[in-house]
């Protein structure tokens, strides 16, 4: 990987040399700044329609692997030796959130190599960590560009970066900025005073739904399995196959949007604390509603409910990874305690499904 601080020959070549690097021929770099014999790419602080489209695509799980930017040092506006340094991850959504919040602000942007993962996740894994920060400061020779020794880090980076350790190892001091990049301007304007809101992570309906599409896309094998089960349930393939298979298909395949979209939307309103319990309640309710709508027999209804509950319990449990407030001890308890009841319910549901299709049932 090419580092942004590689030294070309003279000022003109520097400009030309950098502009020729394919990694730097990207729409989010506006121009190049030559400062103290260094060439630093200057960021566009306005997102283009392409950036926005890319954000939508990546939310749906497409092209995520390549959704990263080159780690290194960038500039916003016309930064000088006293300008603040903002640190972020090389996941393009995080990077875009930061640069689009820096319109009219002169500053340096230090992009860490988090392997294309956002700040909070990368901090949890340790890639947005003290070690990477120390080495990135050295590689970019940041100390030669600024007079101060202060870095503004996103607050959620605190899970991976230890400010006391960084100070011991490098002498750089961390200022924990707001959780959300869009609060940077008001935070700077208020004299770097964080309000309680700027410090708190939220999980609003919008935020819950923003992370839902990926779960939906990842759940297609479940939907496919549901359709196969429904087709089998409809057998024999006579004239009334579809009248049996269709309700089953709606009930079973519907569990995916119910578990991946309705679940996050309704999360705070679902009963219980465990995500698996919330999911099971939602799935059972969906199956019961389908059974009532299609007028299924009591055995078939019970089968649907027993199959549906563990499926949505599982989808719900998986949503712990997208949530902003679950802890590992709880998730572990939920996985361990939930497994056998879920497996038993699924098995019982499948058996009942077969029974309900037996002659005379």
């Amino acid at each position: 990987m090419i580092d942004l601080v590689r030294k070309p020959a003279g000022p003109a070549e520097r400009q030309a040399g950098f502009a020729a690097l394919s990694e730097l021929q990207v729409p989010w770099i506006e121009r190049f700044l030559v400062v103290r014999g260094r060439t630093v790419p200057v960021l566009r602080t306005r997102l283009s329609p392409r950036d926005r489209l890319g954000a939508v695509k990546v939310r749906w799980g497409f092209g995520r692997g390549a959704y990263r930017v080159l780690p290194g040092l960038y500039a916003a506006g016309k930064p000088g030796p006293d300008s603040p340094v903002f640190v972020t991850a090389n996941y393009k959504l995080s990077f875009d959130a930061l640069r689009s919040s820096l319109a009219g602000i002169d500053g340096w942007v230090l992009v860490l190599d988090t392997k294309g993962v956002n700040v909070w996740c990368a901090a949890g894994k340790g890639t947005f960590g003290t070690g990477e920060l120390v080495s990135r400061i050295a590689k970019t020779r940041l100390g030669a560009l600024v007079r101060h020794r202060e870095l503004v880090l996103p607050q959620l980076g605190a899970t991976g970066v230890s400010a006391p350790e960084l100070a011991r190892r490098t002498g750089w001091r961390v200022v924990w900025g707001p959780v959300r990049a869009r609060d940077i301007r008001p935070w700077l304007e208020a004299g770097r005073v964080k309000t309680e809101d700027m410090r708190r992570i939220t999980f609003t309906l919008r935020e819950r739904l923003a992370v839902a599409p990926v779960e939906l896309v990842h759940s297609w094998p479940l939907a496919a399995a549901g359709l196969v089960l429904a087709a089998l349930y409809g057998l024999p393939a006579d004239g009334s196959w579809s009248s049996r298979a269709l309700p089953a298909a709606v009930l079973l395949a519907g569990l995916v949007p119910v578990g991946a979209l309705a679940f996050p939307a309704l999360l705070p309103r679902l009963p219980g604390r465990a995500f698996s319990v919330k999911g099971a309640v939602l799935g059972a309710a969906w199956a019961a509603a389908c059974a009532a709508f299609f007028g299924l027999s009591p055995t078939a209804s019970a089968s649907g409910i027993l199959v549906a509950a563990p499926v949505t319990a599982f989808l719900g449990m998986n949503f712990t990874g997208s949530s902003t407030f679950t802890c590992q001890t709880g998730a572990l308890a939920e996985v361990e305690k939930g497994f056998w009841p879920m497996a038993a319910s699924l098995a019982a549901g499948l058996v009942l499904g077969v029974v309900s299709r037996a002659p005379g049932a």
Binding site: Q155, A158, V161, R180, M317, G321, S323, T329
Partner: protein, 102 residues
């Protein structure tokens, strides 16, 4: 809106004798768990703690400890299947920007 999950903050421990009252834990905690009063930090809302570990990692006096880890069932299941600690696998997890994923 305040969310609460299972066993939140169960492993969070604050040693008031070691605490220097700097308030860094208040500054890094995304869930408002701490409060500084009379020169000492106090756990005010343990139930909101997601055990992310930011406070312990950034406490200059090492007065805080917490068993930190990703609160992600998928990572736990993957870890169990592989017989390792909870792991996000090799692929970076899905496009989660603000949410705390694995």
């Amino acid at each position: 809106m305040r969310y609460e999950y299972l066993m939140n903050g169960g492993s969070l421990h604050l040693d008031p004798d070691a605490c220097v009252g700097c308030g860094d834990c208040v500054d890094v905690c995304p869930h408002g768990v701490f409060r500084v009063e009379n020169g000492k930090a106090r756990i005010e809302d343990r139930g909101a703690c997601m055990e992310c570990g930011a406070c312990a990692l950034n406490c200059p006096a090492s007065a805080l400890s917490v068993k930190a880890g990703v609160g992600c069932a998928a990572a736990i299941i993957l870890g169990k299947l592989r017989g390792t600690a909870p792991s996000c696998g090799d692929a970076p997890c899905a496009g989660k920007d603000q949410a705390g994923c694995c």
